[in-house]
């Protein structure tokens, strides 16, 4: 099927051999989750202790890996999944889906210095809402989990799937935002001067600060501000730990020895534009990017028309061959059949040619340093292990056994 890995494929193989973190980013509907799973599988085959983490609220990864469901716990992909497909992995594969609420609770457990702080935080209504379903806390918790997995020693490669484009950027910025948010000076602003016995245990601000705070109270409601202040107060003791981790995640994401970003996209113009945008965002943040995986690429770009000058794909000999081969069928229907097939085929070819052009444009945009892998378009959704292995064949240029 393939003639050994090309340059991009060889590079991807090196990435899964020596990096600690691969982050898959891209717009929605381009097979990002499937690609992440396929990368994780290959890493396990090559001998890594790999884990695939999805933070996409959609539960697709489980299906792809043949698991009933994925939860916040790390689940091992059974060895039999590999061996049934005739593969002997040298390493191991786990998978999980990020559950924001549970991860947040775990973090509170871990960083709380004492039982009192812990129950104060876990009982705060603002905390309960924040930790539940809202997208912003999703991002914070993704970095938390990433840090946790990266430092646990249980895995030597984390493959991270991210939500569609817009939120992936939130995700990249989340750790920085969290640091800023939790800046002690800022939180101090909300808490100072803290005096026991005042309203709700804290008196907020003085001077101009009091004015702004009072105005905020008018706009957002005093209740809201009180709850937020309580939340900060309860969090005060946890700040140092949070900040430290946020900084470390931010450094990990920028570390070229440890991390590689992979932009997953499809040849359609909107997806390509977003891939470029994302590439630029990575460059701007000094994050190690420059790798693209283009999914759903048409396979018929090379097809040539029959050399008979009539613009048809099948030559007269080939049409005759079909007629003879279908000799038992009603012959009157055959020319129409051939015509419909050719019409469809010419559209398919045109789409494939467009795909190739889009990929060439991407290459010239991203420059010679950038690498581009392609995966041909598949009619059926991939949600079995065999299908994921076939994708590995395209990603890594390996013969599928």
């Amino acid at each position: 099927m393939t003639q050994g890995p090309n340059e991009a494929q060889a590079e991807l193989l090196r990435v899964i051999e020596d990096r600690r973190l691969v982050v898959c980013v891209g717009s929605g509907g381009v097979g990002k989750t499937t690609t992440a799973a396929a990368i994780g599988i290959q890493a396990a085959i090559q001998g890594r202790k790999a884990i695939v983490v999805t933070i996409d609220p959609a539960r697709r990864l489980a299906n792809s890996l043949g698991l009933e469901a994925l939860g916040n716990d790390e689940r091992a992909i059974p060895l039999s999944k590999f061996t049934e497909c005739g593969v002997e992995p040298k390493g191991t594969l786990h998978a999980m889906m990020l559950d924001t609420r549970k991860t947040f609770d775990e973090v509170i457990w871990r960083v709380s210095p004492d039982e009192e702080t812990r129950s104060k935080v876990l009982g705060n209504r603002v905390y309960r809402h924040i930790s539940d379903t809202l997208s912003a806390s999703h991002d914070y918790m993704a970095s938390e989990k990433l840090y946790d997995l990266h430092t646990s020693g249980r895995y030597d490669l984390v493959v991270l799937d991210t939500p569609p484009m817009k939120n992936a950027i939130d995700f990249l910025e989340a750790s920085g935002r969290l640091s800023r948010f939790l800046d002690e000076k800022i939180v101090g602003w909300f808490l100072r001067p803290h005096e026991e016995g005042r309203k709700r245990g804290l008196q907020l601000l003085s001077g101009t600060g009091t004015l702004v705070y009072r105005l905020l109270g008018n706009v957002f409601g005093n209740q809201f501000l009180d709850e937020i202040s309580e939340f900060f107060l309860a969090f005060r003791d946890l700040l140092a730990g949070f900040r430290e981790r946020a900084d470390e995640v931010s450094q990990l994401l920028r570390n070229k020895q440890l991390t590689r970003f992979v932009v997953v996209c499809a040849p359609q113009s909107t997806s390509m534009e977003e891939a470029r945008y994302f590439h630029a965002q990575l460059m701007q943040r000094s994050m190690p990017g420059g790798f693209f995986i283009v999914n759903q690429v048409g396979r018929y770009a090379e097809a040539e028309q029959a050399d008979e000058g009539d613009g048809r794909y099948l030559g007269s000999a080939e049409r005759e061959w079909i007629g003879e081969h279908l000799a038992n069928q009603s012959q009157s229907s055959i020319p129409g059949f051939i015509q419909r097939l050719e019409t469809h085929f010419s559209r398919t070819v045109a789409r494939s040619v467009d795909d190739c052009r889009a990929i060439d444009n991407l290459k010239s945009f991203a420059g010679r340093q950038a690498k581009v892998c392609t995966i041909p378009r598949l009619v059926d959704d991939v949600y079995d292990f065999d299908g994921l292995l076939a994708i590995d064949g395209h990603l890594f240029g390996l013969e599928k056994s």
């Binding site: 509907g29 800022i186 957002f220 409601g221 809201f224 113009s269 099948l314 559209r347 045109a350």
Partner: protein
Amino acid sequence: MDLSMRRLYFVTGKGGTGKTAVCVGLARALARRGRRVLLLEVDAPRPNIPSYFGGESSYEPRVLAPRIEGANIDFYSALRSYVESVVPVKSIVRLILRNKVVRIFLSATPGARELVVLSRIWEHSFEPRWDHIVVDLPASGHAVALFRCPFLAQQTFDRGPLRKRAAEISERFTDPEVASLLFCALPGEMPINETLETRAQILRMGLPPVGGVLLNRYPDERLTSGDEELLEMLHSAGADLPSRVREVVEAGREMRREQGLADEGLERLNGAFGAENVEVLPLLPGTHAQVADAFSLMLAEGMR
């Protein structure tokens, strides 16, 4: 489906299902029928709608085409609108918005963003200068989070203007005479699963009323069932097939398979939404703007 019956159309769907093209198509269809339309994007870091019409995106509605205006509701501008609507004094509004602590506090407070953005859509929904508002929502999971915000806010805040606004938003967006949520779907099995899951989540919340679904990129080049039989006979020749014939036959069989999947998907959508609430949009060649134009003709057809 007659998509001219509601004042407010929210459109969501999994990423890559063609939400924006459908929104633009719907806005153009309504404009064809003489309606005045506002086309909104929600806190888009890179607004897509301008690429269909040319020009830049802005927070204040701007004319995109005859009878169509567009805007991107970004968080900070929406925040300004919200603060202005509550605080009448301009200098105080400035004081609040310029405060560094306030900005960081708000950008990092989960939920504040969503509520303030919804509040702007809510304000627009009362303005008589438009007959319809079409809202290009974020992808399904985040759209659900967006609509959950008014509920969360009402639970979190016992009083205060934010709670009041959340209640007003809920009331307006729950009204089936006013608002309708449309889904964009693609024919694959997983995209259909996700559409049905999101629909169930929205129905549980009761906000906003579920209108219908648009099944996009439906393959409409039909081979007959007789063709399929002939294809299989050719395919069974295996290695004997001349190479070019094999390519054409392979592509033909793929198309049959695709049609089969699409038909299954359509059937499942019909079952869940009711066939009268399902609109099929074909797989079309051309640029995204051309595709949206073609959609507008099809959607206008269904409007009284």
